[in-house]
Amino acid sequence: MCSKSGGPYVGLIGMSFQKIISLFLYVPPEGETGPCEDTGGESVAGQQEIQESQPDTRSPRQRTKNRQKARSRLNRVRPKQLAGLTCKTPSPISPGVLGAETSSEISPVIGKIDSDEMKPLMKNLDENLNALKKILHYGTNADVVVREFDIPTIPVTKASIIFIDGLAGRDTIDFAILEPLMLISNLADRETEDHLELVKRRLLPGNQVTERNNLRAIVEDVLSGATCLLIEESDIALTIETRSWEHRSIDKPSAEMVVRGPQEAFNETLKNNLALIRRRMRTPDFVIEMLKIGTLSRVDCAVLYIEGLTNPELVDEVKRRISETRSDHIQDTGILEQFIEENPYVLAPQTISTERPDRMAAFLAEGYVGIMLDGSPFALVLPATFWSLLQSAEDYFLRWPFGAFLRAVRTLALILAIFLPAIYLALTNFHPEMIPTDLLLAIAATREKVPFPTLVEVLIMEISIELIREAGVRMPGIIGPTLGIVGALILGQAAVAASIVSPILVVIVAITALGAFAVPNFNMAFAIRLYRFVYIVLAAVLGFYGVAIGVFIQLVTYVNLKSFGVPYMSPVVPSMRSSGDALFRYPLWKSEIRPSFLKPQQEVRQPHVSRGWVKEQVKTNMNGTSQGNGLDESNKAEPEKAKGERHGK
């Protein structure tokens, strides 16, 4: 129209203008479902509830209104500083209800849904089967299996099962579904028309059988490995738990190894991973909520927390961010993390990733929230603080002086990994007077033959180290570590011999690399590698002044950063109550409270005197009775110790 009235240029300008405006306005694409339109977001844990899916007779205006209402309900929790919130009152939602209703209410399968999928089941088996075949592209899709058979009733009842070859267990289908239905059904004796009920109660020995009444729920179940049973003249289908695919067995941790402590790590199967945590967290209050994410991937995403302990605002915020994530394919927590983190432009990791079930259980017990994805061997823990990224599981498995020492070593490693090359550059280029004379002469002598300026020398070595590291990771199998060692040794030696770099720089780069490896969090170690280059440039341009300015800007950025509303540097700044478990590690029996920045519903973790036996011993000794175990002499000092413990708190 524009081009007609004002020529093609006006039309073009108009279109461009509209395009620009559309960039600022979010218009949901057609077919994208709102949170309330989801009817099949049940948990894979097998809740056996029927979704009451009535044909939608509401007007479009009413539907829009309802959708807006639902969104406003979802948006009740805004990203804000959770530290400032009081969450003393327990959540009104009971754990059992939360697991089922909340997930279906706020966790839509995000993205475009085929309108056929939303249809309810009919009474006609052929119609239902054809609809499912159409949705699953039966015939084209090689792994979709449809098996039609008769159940021996009088007259015979037609039935069909649908499953995905490879996801569903063949033996289970043969011996726990087909055999009882086809061979031992004996339904002829029964004078009842409700075959479905009979099949469910008497003929399906599977431990999880769920009734489904809409195509979408069936498709979801089938695609996650369940087998769907359709029966003639029934508008309800049964999905039977038959998931059995090839998977890696539970292995040792590869990124968070410890000498002392459990040696189990998550693998790619969500069910197994959740069981690993449940084994360590046997309270009924440990809740696993299931959401689904990814238009194409439709991956199960588990949100983990302890009901009655974890801050409900934090749980809501985590669920809100996940459910508001709109993407087609999210297959790993590493991808999900990028969608839900607060500030994507800061190098600092804003979530904690772990592959250790014991660590996840410990975090949950403190009031953190966990996220796990099916297919991802790494779980996310939220929120992250700077200090938690320097902590390792082993800190707690060792006695406290050793744990505290390890943390001090790691802090030193962090400082060396970021600043050592920059300090070397600043000292040699700008402030040589600081270097002791003997050392200065030694450095000068070794650098005599090196033709490059120090900056080039440092960059050559740092880039070489990065190349060795990257090549070591990409190299197959056993060659990787070998290449790393050979590359580092030979390259360093050869570079010195060829007068490309000075020997002292090889030492500095090696210490720096070791420092980066000593940082327990993989993401943090990555951030350090990048920060190091920034500081090298700053030191090369402005010496110590540049480094100091960089430190200040980093400091300001970090103290301003928040992870899920929690200040990144808490509990140090802003100062908050904690067990002192930040840079230092106190004795575990002194760690009486949970981190207050999480605003847990139960702040106290253990009583004032957690070592109850000390109290008992004091009582016994005060009553003058002997222990009678021959340790009287050694026990004489205990009352004093116990007093110290009570009064020193």
Binding site: F430, H431, E433, M434, P436, Y545, I549, F552, V556, T557
Partner: protein, 365 residues
């Protein structure tokens, strides 16, 4: 007032202490010697005592207007004209402090670390760092101050301890230098050296525990005064009067005298490293206070749009003094002298007017 996050008591105190005491890193001791001669360390005692009285007046003024900062309180008490004049006075003090500190800190860096780098480059980098901090807001700046507080306390204690072998405390006699009345006069006139305490009243609306503003101010003044007095005393003992009149950066010069064995030498560079961070925090605080005063005067929703203009103005004005002595002279002899009038006397006048208008107690209108 724009809604920014609330800041805690600890952060507020740390920021105010930083604000008050970082001038030790520049030519503050030299000017104390100028005013107090051998009794240079007594001048801050008097100045801080007077500033404490002034601060109590400021608190009395803002307590009349619950929920409001000093700028709004001044406007309420004095009306639009007098309130505007008062706010301009506060702004002038903090803006001049920022500008002159940029110059003085840059000159220190130029002297100590980068003698061959153009001054304008050093200044520009300082301004960029300040801009980033002020853009991030009060929470970021005060938390950075809180995190850096152990750093500055540690540095000052270490520096003073390491200077003890070089100190000769006989040179602080005669104890009262030019005479006790002269000391009291000089200290009172230069009470503006603690004028930064007004910062607490500017951000009063953002304090988590506003009712504790008086306590916060008194603690900050006491801690900062202790730093100033002890450090000036040690510098006076290391550089006796009148030698101290000719040393522009006594802190830096004193650190060059530290001898800690054959291996560890010239550790002044390490101190300068810490000073740069402290200077950045100070500049961020003063820059933030100046922009927030203008924001509140103009009733803007955010201070962020003002930042580019302030950065350019700051850079330009910082280049105006012809050399360091002129910059430090203007800072201590002009800003810190007449600044006291704007910071402490103006609120007193406004308080009196408010009492005449509405009587004692909080304004219930």
């Amino acid at each position: 007032m724009a809604s920014e996050g609330k800041i805690g008591t600890r952060e507020a105190i740390a920021a105010t202490v930083y604000f008050l005491s970082t001038k030790l890193l520049i030519s503050f001791p030299q000017h104390m010697a100028e005013m107090g001669q051998t009794a240079a360390w007594i001048v801050p005692i008097v100045s801080f005592a007077v500033a404490t009285l002034g601060f109590l007046i400021i608190v009395a003024l803002i307590e009349r207007y619950p929920g409001k900062g000093i700028v709004e309180a001044s406007e309420e008490a004095g009306g639009p004209v007098l309130g505007l004049i008062a706010s301009l006075g506060y702004f002038a003090f903090f803006f001049a402090t920022t500008v002159l500190l940029i110059r003085e800190f840059s000159e220190t860096v130029s002297t100590a670390l980068l003698p061959r780098t153009p001054l304008s480059v050093i200044m520009a980098v300082f301004i960029i760092a300040t801009l980033v901090a002020v853009y991030n807001g009060l929470e970021a700046v005060t938390r950075a101050a809180s995190l850096g507080m152990p750093l500055i306390i540690g540095t000052l204690i270490l520096l003073n301890l390491m200077l003890l072998p070089q100190s000769n405390f006989d040179v602080i006699f005669p104890l009262f230098g030019p005479g006790i009345w002269k000391l009291i006069y000089n200290g009172t006139v230069h009470s503006g050296i603690a004028g930064e305490v007004m910062f607490l009243s500017v951000i009063a609306g953002q304090l988590d525990e506003r009712h504790k503003v008086k306590t916060m101010g008194l603690i900050s003044l006491s801690v900062a005064a202790s730093f100033m007095i002890v450090s000036t005393l040690v510098y006076s003992a290391v550089f006796p009067y009148p030698l101290s009149l000719h040393i522009t950066y006594p802190g830096y010069e004193a650190s060059t005298l530290i001898y800690s064995g054959r291996f560890l030498q010239h550790i002044e560079v390490a101190f300068v490293f810490l000073w740069v961070i402290s200077a950045c925090i100070h500049l961020a605080l003063s820059g933030y206070t100046a922009t927030v005063i203008i924001r509140d005067m103009l009733k803007l929703p955010s201070h962020k749009p003002l930042l580019p203009a302030f950065a350019i103005l700051g850079f330009t004005f910082a280049l105006v003094p012809s050399d360091v002595p002129q910059a430090t002279h203007v800072d201590f002899m002009t800003v810190k002298t007449y600044g006291g009038l704007a910071i402490f006397v103006m609120p007193l006048i406004l308080l009196l007017i408010a009492r005449l208008k509405t009587g004692p107690g909080p304004d219930r209108r």
